[in-house]
């Protein structure tokens, strides 16, 4: 005989204000099978859980229903409580009377009535619940980090320092990412290279870290603790094991017209190149679209000069397959294309540049050796105008609806640095709002205004146009309610950032969810901010949302902590809510395997007793519980109904349907 206990939570006034919780508890008392019914202010609190535990013991409960908030919130909490009281955790069901009831209905009678129905439905289900035991699966003690920017580097270093093997897969020829392109970093103005490159070197030298540069993730199989990842190692046409990074090839290469991506295409580089001086690995790569040898078959100069014979024009992409227990996604960002913002004249005027281009123009290793010169004529700009929010906070469809978060601070940094280096240069900043939450951030911005005399103008620019060689920046000055035109020499656009487009493919391979802006979704915005809803996948850096370097590094270390927490375990508990066939009814028809996305179903020949001493060998489905994710696609495709899903069995759902339909 079933002995069900029902616990109705007030959630303070969140539920109790709209649902008559006492009445619900009272009505439910007379439900068949219910032997105990109570209500309490906060079921999830220590006392609330105690109440449940006590009732389980005192009333010898066989099943528990908690009428409370969404099971996505506290199902785990209540299951744990039940387990502590000696009840199988899967004998607990939640009736969501907050998100699905009290919060959306206003009429108390109506909401109370609905709460009763929802609780009855949960009772109907729990009566058919069966105790389930989580299985176990082994953990491969190695992590994969996708993306070798500061987020990936930090995560890899932290994981490796804890003693686990880490592979960094980086699609470019070197690790370092966007941070390597920056000049100084706010709010302390340290030189970016000075703080980043030592970490890059640490990665290269760490015995537990394997850097797979110029590589991309090609395929992912498996699940938490046991991912199998296929990695494409793109042909760089240079033998990584031989190249010493002497750069003689770069000097001798006759094709020097390739755009220098590292310098935001502001200058050129040879067809064979090392992206920048501190690149890791310090190994050359050939751009086949620029290489004369590869285009025409004639040349081969680099091969001739390479002292170690590292050049291999015939190199092909290769693939490696490795096993990992956890995966960190740190794919980073790029500035958006400005095609939709021609009012700022980016396409027509060389001296209208993006902030990232300005970083290169101010960087000592950049195309102008750190001297600020305008791209059009190499002159020192005397008036520089910054435009904020270019493509950010834009719901018109041209740009991105979100705030890119980093622009206010780096624009203040740029403005300050220009005023510092070139005191005779006027600097104007058009802004909508200046957003500087963060330690020492607002102080930093105010320094730009108060100490460096940067002219901040509240208003947006309507048009940038060229007139007699000057860039005319026409915009509003809302404080003075006027329209102004600033004759400028250089215009810098604080261009919105967006996730690196390759993240979509990575997300698909990992079955990690992604939002409408292509940012990866975290498991919980507040409480599980570095975990993807896909178990074993963690998120670091801008792939999850716009953030600056300090935040990125924090998040990367948080990811590492999560990964380490996973990798120290030898075995993982698996979700017991998996498919399982009733072999006596299984036809062995293969329909279920046809729809299984995880390859969890195989078929075995099994001997069945037919009675009278006879036996029969039949082909029947067999589900690997460690691989099955519990979606239930197979159950519907099974004509005989032999395939069922534990925790969501057909009978349970049918019973819920029956209960929920009763008005």
């Amino acid at each position: 005989m079933q002995r069900i206990g029902v616990f109705i939570c007030w959630c303070g006034s969140n539920i109790a204000a709209t649902v008559d919780v006492e009445k619900v508890a009272e009505v439910i008392k007379s439900e068949p099978g219910v032997v105990y019914s109570a209500n309490y202010q906060y079921m999830c609190s220590e006392n609330g859980q105690q109440l449940i535990k006590q009732a389980i013991k005192e009333h010898n409960l066989t099943g528990v229903v908690v009428g409370a908030c969404s099971p996505r919130m506290h199902e785990a909490t209540f299951r744990k409580a039940a387990e502590e009281a000696g009840l199988n955790p899967y004998m607990v069901e939640i009736a969501n009377i907050r998100e699905h009831c009290s919060w959306i209905h206003k009429d108390m009678d109506e909401a109370t009535e609905k709460a009763v129905i929802l609780v009855r439905t949960a009772i109907a289900k729990v009566k058919l619940n069966a105790p389930l035991t989580a299985g176990e699966s082994p953990v491969v003690k190695r992590a994969l980090v996708i993306g070798g920017g500061i987020a990936g580097i930090q995560a890899a270093l932290d994981i490796a320092d804890a003693g686990f093997e880490v592979d960094i897969v980086e699609k470019n020829a070197t690790i370092g990412g966007r941070m390597a392109q920056l000049d100084k970093t706010f709010p302390t103005l340290d030189c970016s290279a000075c703080i980043l490159t030592p970490k890059m070197v640490d990665c290269a030298q760490h015995e537990k870290i394997d850097i797979l540069s110029y590589s991309e993730v090609e395929d992912v199989k498996g699940f938490v603790g046991n991912f199998s990842v296929k990695i494409r190692r793109k042909a760089r046409f240079v033998d990584e094991t031989k190249c010493t990074g002497c750069k003689i090839c770069m000097e001798k290469c006759p094709s020097k017209k390739g755009l220098n991506e590292f310098n935001m295409n502001l200058n050129t580089r040879p067809a064979i190149y090392i992206p920048f001086a501190q690149a890791i690995p310090n190994v050359a790569v050939i751009d086949p679209t620029q290489c004369i040898k590869m285009k025409t078959g004639k040349c081969g100069i680099c091969q001739k000069f390479c002292g170690v014979g590292a050049i291999d024009y015939e190199q092909k992409d290769t693939f490696i397959e490795r096993q990992y227990g956890a995966i960190v996604v740190a794919t980073g960002f790029k500035p958006i294309a400005l095609d939709n913002f021609n009012e700022y004249g980016y396409a027509d005027n060389k001296d209208v540049i993006t902030s990232l281009e300005l970083e290169r123009l101010m960087n000592a290793a950049g195309p102008t050796n750190g001297v600020l010169l305008r791209p059009s004529d190499g002159e020192h700009p005397k008036v520089v105008t910054f435009i904020q929010c270019v493509g950010s906070r834009d719901t018109s469809g041209c740009g991105k609806p979100y705030c890119s978060k980093i622009c206010c601070m780096y624009t203040a940094k740029h403005a300050m640095m220009i005023r510092e280096k070139y005191p005779d240069t006027e600097v104007h900043v058009f802004y909508i709002d200046v957003r500087t939450p963060g330690k020492n951030y607002d102080e930093f911005y105010r320094r730009a205004v108060e100490q460096y005399g940067v002219d901040y103008i509240k208003g947006m620019v309507g048009k940038v146009y060229n007139e007699n060689g000057k860039l005319m920046v026409q915009g509003s000055n809302l404080i003075d309610n006027e329209q102004i035109t600033i004759e400028s020499d250089l215009v810098v656009l604080a261009t919105a950032i967006e996730p690196e487009p390759s993240v979509r493919k990575v997300a698909t391979l990992l079955t990690a969810s992604i939002d409408t802006n292509n940012f990866l979704t975290e498991s919980h915005a507040k409480l599980r901010p570095v975990e993807s809803p896909t178990a074993g996948v963690y998120l670091a850096g801008v792939c999850q949302g716009p953030k600056d370097i300090p935040e990125t590094v924090s998040q990367a270390s948080a990811c590492a902590a999560k990964v380490i927490g996973l990798l120290v375990k030898d075995k993982l508990k698996t979700n017991p809510c998996v498919a399982s066939p009733d072999e006596n009814m299984c036809n062995g028809c293969s329909q279920c395997a046809n729809v299984c996305a995880y390859g969890a179903i195989t078929y075995i020949d099994k001997e069945f007793r037919l009675g009278g001493g006879k036996t029969e060998i039949r082909r029947v489905a067999s589900v690997n519980p460690a691989v099955c994710q519990g979606c239930g696609a197979c159950t519907v495709t099974c004509p005989s109904g032999a395939m069922d899903l534990k925790g969501f069995s057909s009978k349970q759902i049918m019973s819920e349907v029956e209960a929920i339909c009763k008005m």
Binding site: N584, N587, E616, M654
Partner: protein
């Protein structure tokens, strides 16, 4: 047809006698001329005493192979064109052991429907003789000539199937190719209003006595245990005790065979209440053809069905009616 029957008998005897096969699945004479039934012949004597192949051998033999193909030794089977689709489908679902079966493809020439003959007012039929499109029906009351296209089985009237499987064939006559639209009747129903359709099916399905003849004959309905017999399914029921139950049974049955039904028409043939059950299955076939591309179950013994595959561009359910998107 007689010449074909003789040839088949001869060949069956040969195969049994030589020990090449352990048994032959074919049709045996019934009590009347119009009710031959599927049978397993194990000896030459059994063949000589009962084997028949005539215009009333409409039954699909493929389903019987589920059991016999598991037995010791090879089984020879005579399959008409339409039967081979069911055979293939069962091989695809690993229900028939192909290597244990020897398929002899036989010509069909369209089978007759005794119900249709009776409906023409001819009862106590004692024999038929088919000459082109004329069928001379002899009965206790004399002889009548009927027009063949009017008295063939529904499945034969719209059939254009060809043998998909054969280890050898016995085909003495060319079968004329027909120009028919098997979906014509489905389209007629689609053209009706919702209310009219509802009324149509209400009338038809209310006749159902839940005898399970359709389920038992259907080669796709070959589950070891049917959901309707499984108390854990939540829909187990032995009888139609409400109008809902009538619909439920036929909707779920049609859904379960969708993508697997070869349109062999056996369900309608055996229905004692003459419910046009094939129109349910054909609706699924027509919709899937229209939405996901032409697909004929049983054409191949490999691959997925339309409902176990997908494309990213599939139409949205809310937009789909009558096999087309809005």
């Amino acid at each position: 047809m007689k010449d074909v029957e003789l040839k088949m008998l001869e060949r069956a005897k040969e195969l049994l006698a030589s020990g090449e096969v352990a048994r032959v699945v074919g049709w045996k004479k019934g009590d009347f001329c119009y009710d031959p039934s599927p049978a397993v012949f194990k000896t030459v004597e059994e063949l000589e005493n009962g084997f028949v192949y005539d215009y009333f051998c409409g039954a699909n033999l493929s389903k019987y192979l589920i059991d016999v193909s598991k037995k010791e030794g090879k089984t020879a089977v005579f399959l008409k064109p339409c039967d081979t689709y069911s055979f293939n489908q069962l091989v695809k679902e690993h229900r028939i052991k192909r290597e244990n079966v020897y398929v002899i493809a036989v010509e069909c020439m369209a089978k007759l429907d005794i119900e249709k003959i009776k409906a023409k007012g001819v009862s106590f039929v004692t024999g038929v003789e088919v000459v082109e499109k004329d069928v001379k029906v002899s009965s206790l009351y004399g002889e009548t000539t009927l027009y063949k296209p009017e008295i063939v089985l529904e499945k034969c009237a719209v059939c254009n199937k060809t043998h998909q499987v054969k280890d050898e064939e016995i085909i003495l006559h060319e079968r004329p190719v027909r120009d028919v639209n098997r979906f014509a009747e489905v389209e007629k129903l689609e053209a009706m209003t919702e209310d009219e359709r509802f009324a149509f099916w209400k009338e038809q399905l209310s006749k159902c006595i839940r005898c399970n003849a359709c389920r038992n004959v259907c080669p796709a309905c070959s589950c070891i245990k049917c959901v309707f017999d499984n108390p854990n399914s939540g829909i187990a029921a032995k009888a139609n005790d409400s109008e809902f139950e009538e619909k439920m049974f036929h909707i779920i049955r049609a859904y379960h065979v969708a993508g697997r039904c070869t349109d062999c028409g056996e369900c309608s043939r055996v229905c004692p209440q003459n419910i046009p059950l094939h129109l349910l299955n054909r609706k699924f076939i027509k919709d899937m053809d229209g939405l996901y591309g032409e697909y004929q179950a049983g054409e191949s013994s490999e691959g997925k069905t339309p409902l176990t595959s997908y494309t990213e561009e599939d139409k949205e359910p809310n937009d789909v009616f009558n096999g087309e998107a809005k």
